[in-house]
Symmetry: C3
Subunit: 426 residues, 3 copies
């Protein structure tokens, strides 16, 4: 089976779970992910813990929720779609008129068939979400609003995988476990992350240490950063946030604060040679790049998406389901990530150790009959050599010469074999 | 009455006065301006005073001038339009034939109805200016050329307003008092300058010291600079030359020598968010930015115009009259200048003092229900915060985020009230 | 006669000679060139000498070569066109069938009338070149392949002209003497180089020392660099490689490794104001800029062509003959080089020594009547002065102001005469 299909299947497995900022759903999700990454470590941070300007909120538990009419018919039921309940809803058990009911009903008017995804994390209230069409069909009468939930002093959970390499310089990948049943945003990120971690663990040789962090968005990252700031600042050389990586419609990068970090350079390069892609500045941020790139945190993070969050209509609705993502979409994602990791692992400042162009002919790297129109392969080698002056890493040389990093890796290996290229990992 | 109308009225009051490099007209103009700025200080610099490579020229006085025909009919009369006499004309009283007369007559052939504005400051000669149509209508015959003027050892006058602020760092505004009866160039500049000075004096709090200089173009600025060079170099952080600021056709900036000073950055930013405008490089200079930006002087000056001098057909002719400028034109100008001064006064290097994004919700700056499509106001705040890393001043952040400075000022005030923003005026 | 005609005639004189990497043809070429430059010094480097990663190859001598058919008719004969023999062919004397013959015949299929130029410098083999049409016309039968050549321990020859100047800073020109009977590539380069050298020797005053190097491509340059590296690195401020400079179809520059050297700046500027031209990055290199710009060599070299090598169909075929180049083509080339040398000789960091704009009027450099629309000549002077702040050399000021260097030279001479401009050759 293809990598894309494998990742799709993991995403499908965690899709039904009702996740939120905290609680049972997050922990169930971690249990599934551990099947694919037994070194996934889960941490619990108690409610009330301070994290910079924030405080870890109460834990949310929900068991049952529905609206029923006077005939006892359930209009909506949490069991059918966990988006029907506003995230972090407080409990309710009340019969009300339609007018009163509607004060607690949320819809997405411009997408009348979709159930919107809505939360109220930091103010205690309750609410129900349904499609605009369903709302319009509601008749006057009495309705039973029922939510069996509770907010209590519990904990926030996050997970971490650390894969050691030859150096303690780290490549960081982050993603989310706080979204309920939506596929691209965000079953795709955790599924891709555990799969990529498995690939990296299988590498014969690893120069970098790789760290994967799985947590709830915003408060999860802030909590994680607050507990690991000094370590991250002194070790992470590039960070990539994975979100909405399962659809097959686009490739996107959301840049770091100034768009000039090693993470920007590397992922941009890989995307440029991989497929058409969309380039978003930090002004269009919206995910954990917000926290990692904050002033004083300054971790060089970009976000990698297929279709960027908030740019596709299915985003944050029930339409972001397992049909919206696909094995092909995941395959494109993992191909990019494989190339990225290979580029990173092979990256260095290369320096040719002979003066003037080396004689490629005596090394079998040059045609012995010289005639016009036959030099493309040779030009790739000599162009690479021309910029192996110690000022450029592999991604720089790729950008200068227009040769993809994976092809440069082949050339560089030949030159190293021929002992005419020195390597400085810096 | 609107600010624009008020400034228009001041311009109208000084319009009829016959100004030149020096002399009575300049002093009359200062008398009018003092009605609006009683702290306007007038300085006199004697003829013959050296100013760098230049020497203050003789003072020019003119009482009467006309051309009359044999019947005693005055063809042109200085009393009707002071552009009829070439600036700095020497006296003449002679009857001549048409041929001889025409040697002393200047017209603008491509604008046959306009009287051109012509001067001969640095070579003694006399001349008359008239419309090309009038010149063509002249019949052969005898004409009386009469100019009652004199050039004598007098002085050159310039004026200065200094409005102290909390620091001795200065914002400099300059403009001209050497043009005779032309409205945009240059009754508009002095009228706007005294009005702006009055606004600044009315501010409750002023961080910067503001300096306004009113003088004749070129020799006036050179004289002023020669007497104040060290002070200017050590105090002025941004200088704005005001010229042709009364029409309602365009907005223009003429950049400094390299276009990279604080003056360029600030005025460009304000114009960019105010209205469409024209951007001219220093190669299209023509006003006092020439002197202030000269090598070794290096005062960071840009010129602010509505329509740029020499770019509108009415320029330097009798068509640049009080109909060419308008209250609406002046209103646009003063709006830009108010925004500029407010931007300067509020400018600083801001630094957010919490790590990761602050929790805006608990400060009432964030909606408590999270749903897609509602974040624009929040994004403005968090975008501002993202670049409050101590590297950017307010204008930089505006340029990066695309949010006008006046809106950033509101945000920054809220964050300071919430004690999460530190201010470094540097 | 025009310069262009003179250079054309020199090129025509060396056109018939059979040149290669080494051997008699190269030395005959030097004998001709010495008629125009008696200070041309020829150096011989023995076969087997090491030059960085390379070794000077055996010398090649060829006396006669042909293919004849059974009737004794010569199908091709080296005497008619020296391109008929693959460069560095080993000797052969054999009767073969058509099938066997064709294994040693090279053509250019997409240009059926052209004899291609083909070499096998670094692998010993023999071969014949003919037009595709001629090859198609060959009938089955027996053919006599005959090449009377030898490869032996001899030497590689290169030539050098050094013209001393006031300083030991050097301007380097390089070109090739290894191509057989092709006109643009490369009788044009050596002919132009000796002619330019003669012009430079005739200058009354020379600030720079000028060095001209004539050698075989690649191995010649590598050999030359290996023997002169330290001198070149410490003396050469700009280097220009001349190749394909005799046609009249285009002007081209091939940039240095990063396109940012003094050689790039100067030649780009001259071309920009001379005529439309093509700009090629170092990725489209192909001539000796490859060696001089190699990492660790780092001589600031660009290549100047009319039509760039490998970009015109006649390139490396018998169609690149004396009809492809022209006196007009050479005239354009030498005009560019004259302007370049004059620009270099007059180049300096200029600094105006008065503050504010100088009073041009008292020096006769300004019209005494001031009226609109007459300032272009003055604006050129004051624009030049504005950027004479010690930060820009003549080429920088030309680039900033849009005024060609030759016109700036006239202005700068006037200002120096007026003692208001200081010169820093740095």
């Amino acid at each position: 089976m293809s990598d894309g299909q494998n990742i799709y299947d993991i995403a499908k497995e965690i899709f039904p779970i009702c996740r939120s900022l905290s609680g049972k759903g997050v922990r169930q999700t971690f249990e599934v992910l551990k099947k694919y990454a037994d070194d996934l470590n889960v941490f619990e941070v108690p409610t009330g813990t301070e994290a910079f300007d924030w405080t870890v909120p109460k834990e949310w538990e929900i068991n049952e929720a529905y609206i029923e009419d006077e005939s006892g018919k359930r209009i909506i039921d949490f069991k059918e779609n966990n988006l029907h309940v506003m995230g972090y809803s407080t409990p309710v058990d009340a019969w009300v008129d339609l007018d009163e009911l509607l004060k607690h009903v949320y819809t997405q008017e411009d997408q009348p068939d979709a159930i919107p995804y809505i939360t109220s994390y930091y103010k205690e209230r309750y609410g129900f979400c349904m499609s605009e069409n369903m709302k319009k069909a509601l008749k006057p009468g009495r309705y039973h609003m029922y939510i069996d939930s509770r907010l209590f002093y519990g904990s926030l959970s996050y997970g971490e995988i650390v894969i050691p390499g030859e150096t303690d310089k780290e490549i960081l990948f982050t993603t989310y476990v706080c979204h309920p049943s939506m596929a691209d945003n965000e079953c795709s990120g955790p599924a891709t992350a555990v799969y990529l971690a498995s690939y990296i663990k299988g590498l014969k040789k690893r120069r970098y240490t790789y760290r994967f962090v799985f947590g709830p968005e915003t408060i999860g990252s802030i909590t994680y950063i607050s507990r690991n700031l000094e370590h991250l600042k002194s070790h992470v050389v590039a960070a990539y946030n994975l979100s909405c990586v399962g659809d097959n419609l686009d490739y996107s990068i959301v840049h770091s604060r100034y768009g000039n970090t090693f993470a920007d350079k590397t992922l941009t390069n890989i995307l440029k040679f991989h497929a058409p892609y969309s380039d978003y500045s930090f002004l269009e941020r919206g995910s954990d790049e917000r926290q990692y790139n904050a002033p004083g945190v300054d971790i060089p993070m970009v976000t990698f998406c297929r279709s960027k969050f908030a740019k596709f209509p299915e985003y944050h609705t029930s339409l972001d389901n397992m049909d919206f993502v696909s094995p092909e979409g995941f395959q494109g994602t993992i191909d990019v990530l494989y190339k990225l990791v290979d580029g990173l692992e092979n990256n260095a400042y290369y320096k040719i150790n002979v003066l003037c162009e080396p004689q490629l002919g005596k090394r079998g790297l040059y045609p012995t009959v010289s005639r016009k129109g036959q030099y493309d392969a040779v030009m790739m080698i000599t162009s690479f050599i021309a910029y192996c002056d110690g000022k450029n890493d592999l991604f720089d040389i790729s950008n200068i010469t227009g040769i993809p990093v994976d092809e440069l890796i082949e050339i560089k290996d030949k030159l190293i074999d021929n002992k005419i290229l020195d390597v400085d990992h810096e």
